[in-house]
Symmetry: C2
Subunit: 103 residues, 2 copies
């Protein structure tokens, strides 16, 4: 229903007021950006994005109150999760090969 | 370096002893499964999968001790994270449209 890509798309729509601009910023097609928005709107009880499709000047889009709430919760889940698992993540990262210093 | 797909692939290699069987179980090509294994082996200080490529009977593969450790840590990060964010996740899920009962 929501993952890193859709969450980022929502943020970009919130900031740009445009589904196509948001999609472009993520290097996805206009069609794909719309499809993701439609998926999100279908998955939640209230639509997350309110939009008027196209026309010459391009339609406008805004993230609804429900969308902003979902976004805030999603980011909060991420930070709560990362905070709780900090030590395990550090142990895992310590097993990675060091990235060569390119400086 | 590691996400849900690679973690699942590691588990399937551990259980099947074969990179191609593991890839097949995830409906990915032999080539892609090998590429993911090579990425993991390159990312970590110690290889996560030990393998002998192909030949008539097909090569064997096993997850190394480092691989098992990484896998355990990864799954542990997931469960720690999910446990910590239980309430926020429940709030988010409650905003979803109920899935129609198909029974």
């Amino acid at each position: 229903m929501l993952g890193p890509g859709k969450a980022r798309l929502l943020e970009l729509i919130r900031d740009s007021g445009s589904i196509s601009a948001a999609g472009r910023a993520m290097e996805m097609s206009y069609k794909r950006a719309w499809m993701l928005v439609e998926e999100m709107n279908a998955a939640f009880q209230d639509p997350l994005v309110d939009s008027t499709r196209g026309g010459p000047g391009g339609g406008g889009a805004r993230v609804t109150e429900a969308g902003l709430r979902v976004l805030a919760l999603y980011r909060s889940v991420e930070s709560t999760a990362a905070r709780a698992a900090t030590d395990e993540i550090a142990t895992l990262l310590a097993m990675l090969r060091p990235v060569p210093d390119l400086g």
